[in-house]
């Protein structure tokens, strides 16, 4: 048993490490805070099934710095006088290619001087505006090629190390569900390598991979915010390591109760099934809610509080032993409706919606698994101890009180229980650390004692290891 527990712990630890690594990766990717006040260039792509028209705007100061051309007072006449050199420079630094490396044909329109920027941040400055027509190689399906290609634009940034080019898709007639301009990325230097980071355009994924990651991140942060969702699942899992005993002759008056504990494998199977059922439930309604099934927000929120109340009651006395997964799935349907609020606010449609749904759900799953992986292993370890019963009861009672406070608050009665609860999050780090340390201590002490831990007598023998 000791052996199997340790093996389980190792497996759980490995899975946890992977999850944390994934979360780290996801959280770390979308970083781009800054406070640029120097002017940037922009490239706006208008996609049709025959070509892509790129409208490019470049601050004239940066054009001068990059090309070494002196544009004098930066008038239209100054630009016209140098049109050949400017066009040659830009064409040299705009070479889109298909994914197989075949170069596209690029033609350049007229050069126009426009006024750009704003007085508050960048100041008002003169910029060059021009259009390029980017045509996929002859003999290919242009619309197909356009879904995925390298932009190949490194004008200005190849010389001005601090410059940024912002690339957007302004319109896309190959996408029936196009729902407004979106940013596909930026072209700029990586300061670590001092290389220009090339930009791959991927219309297929709706809004490029970074937009997908944005949705994953949104899902993660949604669960991070939504303690009620996590709390429901955790409370439902609280008795997972335990065995529900039918009422015996002596205890008939008191009904069923939690007694003894199941083996590690059974506990983990239950945890897995419950978590999965919750996922299935909320995935269904997340999708339905997002595509427009009407949702009564307030009642959904109240129903979530009720679901937590039910879970906490179940943690005290088995109400539906063995059917946790079913209950998790059923209430998962309710929680999914709440998740869908977030996505509905985005007002997406078509392919964008599919990408968003997928990304958002993955984010929810990742965060949910992180939480389960953080909290459950120590609980399973601690369930060997006599201390687990009072712990479980107290946890369930407190959860129940909180759920009541929540329920009251959500049907319109603000109350001190809900308010007081808001302040308790500050203790999370020390408490979780202590929980893990306590569980690891339990493992060490249990190992050293080499004697059956509390309640092991009731353990079904088949689950031993």
């Amino acid at each position: 048993m000791q052996h199997s527990l340790q093996r389980l712990l190792r497996v759980a630890t490995g899975a946890l490490a992977a999850l944390v690594a994934a979360a780290v990766l996801l959280l770390g990717t979308a970083g781009s805070a800054s406070a640029h006040v120097v002017p940037s260039s922009t490239v706006e792509l208008a996609v049709t099934d025959s070509d892509v028209v790129a409208t490019v705007e470049i601050p004239l100061d940066d054009l001068e710095a990059a090309t070494g051309i002196d544009l004098g007072d930066e008038t239209q006449a100054d630009v016209d006088a140098n049109a050949d050199a400017i066009e040659a420079y830009l064409l040299e630094h705009f070479t889109p290619t298909s994914d197989d490396g075949t170069e596209w044909t690029v033609t350049e329109g007229d050069l126009t001087v426009v006024s750009a920027g704003d007085s508050a941040t960048t100041g008002v400055y003169n910029a060059l505006e021009t259009t390029f027509t980017l045509t996929p190689p002859a003999g290919t399906d242009a619309a197909e090629e356009e879904q995925s290609f390298d932009l190949g634009f490194d004008a200005i940034v190849e010389k001005v190390a601090t410059h940024t080019v912002i690339v957007t898709v302004a319109s896309d007639s190959t996408d029936d569900d196009f729902s407004g301009a979106y940013e596909v990325g930026t072209v700029k230097r990586d300061t670590v390598t001092n290389e220009v980071e090339s930009l791959h355009i991927d219309l297929d994924s709706g809004t490029s991979s970074s937009a997908f990651l944005d949705m994953v991140q949104l899902g993660i942060s949604h669960i991070r915010e939504g303690t009620d969702h996590q709390l429901f699942l955790l409370t439902l899992l609280l008795p997972a390591p335990l065995l529900a005993m039918p009422a015996s002759a002596t205890t008939r008056a008191r009904g069923r109760r939690w007694a003894g504990r199941v083996g590690g494998v059974t506990a983990w199977r239950r945890i897995g099934a419950t978590t999965l059922a919750f996922t299935l439930g909320h995935s269904i309604t997340l999708a339905l809610g997002t595509i427009g099934v009407p949702v009564a927000e307030r009642w959904v929120e109240a129903a979530i509080a009720i679901s937590i109340l039910v879970a906490s009651a179940h943690a005290v006395r088995p109400l539906f032993p063995g059917r946790e997964a079913l209950v998790a799935g059923a209430f998962g349907l309710v929680h999914g409706l709440a998740f869908s609020e977030t996505l509905r606010a985005l007002d997406l449609s078509g392919w964008h919606l599919v990408v968003a749904l997928l990304g958002f759900n993955i984010g929810i799953e990742v965060m949910q698994l992180v939480v389960v992986a953080l909290v459950l292993p120590p609980l399973v370890l601690l369930s060997r101890s006599r201390a687990y019963e009072p712990l479980r009861l107290l946890a369930a009672a407190l959860t129940g009180v909180a759920a009541c406070g929540w329920l009251a608050a959500r049907v319109g009665w603000a109350n001190p229980v809900a308010d007081g609860a808001d302040q308790l999050g500050d203790w999370s780090l020390p408490a979780l650390t202590a929980l893990w340390l306590g569980a690891l201590l339990a493992l060490v002490v249990g190992g050293a004692r080499r004697s059956p831990a509390a309640g092991e007598a009731a353990r079904p023998s088949r689950s031993g290891g």
Partner: protein
Amino acid sequence: MEEAWSRDSASILLGMTPQNTLSERSVSRRWVLGGLSATTALVVTGCAATSASTTTSSSAASSATTSAAAAATSSSAASTTTSAAVEATAAATPSARANARTVARLARAFLATLDADQKATVLQDYSLTNAENWSNLPQGLIGGGGGPGGSTSSSGGRVGISLGDLSSAQLKKFNTLMKAATGSSAGLGWDEITMHLDADDYLGENGGGDTYGRENFYLAFLGKPRAKGTWELQFGGHHLAVANTYTDGQLVGATPSFRGIEPNGRFTWDGETMKVMRRKERAFTAMLASLTSAQQSTAQLSDVYSDLALGPGNDWQFPTTREGLRVGTLSAAQKKKVLAAIGTYVHDVADADAAVIMKRYRSEINKTYVAWSGTTALTERNDYVRIDGPSVWIEFSMQGGIVLSGNHPHSVWRDRVTDYGGTGS
């Protein structure tokens, strides 16, 4: 024995349950992040790196649900300084330690003058997210739109209390605190900061409007100012960022430290005529002028720099390759000019701390590089100079005027080891 640990774990779980149970959405993310950190510490020690420091999300996410975006960018859990940073400052002299104690004491004295609301505004969590939340922009331009090149801090700008919300008695305590935390050299440290605040008042009065002026500068303590543990003295506003990180009673990081100025020329405010960044600019031009033309051409960068490479938001992104002229090849007199230029940033922190840091930079001077771009006069747009060593990183960039006509500089002092006191996650 069994009893003992059971009781322990009982209290552990009891301690844990309430916040599972009772927490409101905005609170709960700390819970999970706390969990992330705890696991990181327990399970994947050392692999965390850039972990829980979340970042701004762009496009769809942030525009759609501001609350979600705010959460996505919100704070990481408490972070610790790396041993490298502590090591780098291990040579802290008794007077530097005494000064760090004084700063913490004055910070507490300042807190004591605040009411509960003000105190809550000043005292913020020590986290990388809060520490990285600085900018060269005035507060009013961070929250709302921001420049076309940059997304903005979704937290809506700097944390902390505005100088405009302090009474004159509180301001006095603030001045005493800042004076102790910054250098006493004329034209640097506290003296430069007082001129800087005057300059921003001047800017407000001369076309900048309400967005500018000293009431748009913010003071925050990230973590409680104590002899034990880590806290950061964060003060900043338009063109200014002070970031002193103290761990266990010594300064473990004085960077990222941002200095820029508009008006860059001489101006008169309150009867005094001043030129805020004169000493820094002079030190750079003297350094470049001391080079022979051959050395200048080795030091010259082929690229154009219209801005700082490692400005706000670009943390821990130091280039792997150092460009320009190696200071080890220079004469003693030339090295002195380089060290003098470095000194105009290092002496922005308290004298005793500056001495410790300069000792480290001096020991690394031969492996330090000097580079420039544009012109060596450092007066024209795109004029740029950089000092890049094993630890030190200083950049200075001339840019076009925003409120006033005429160019103005941005500059940043970073440290490859002790930025944010070594806090990288």
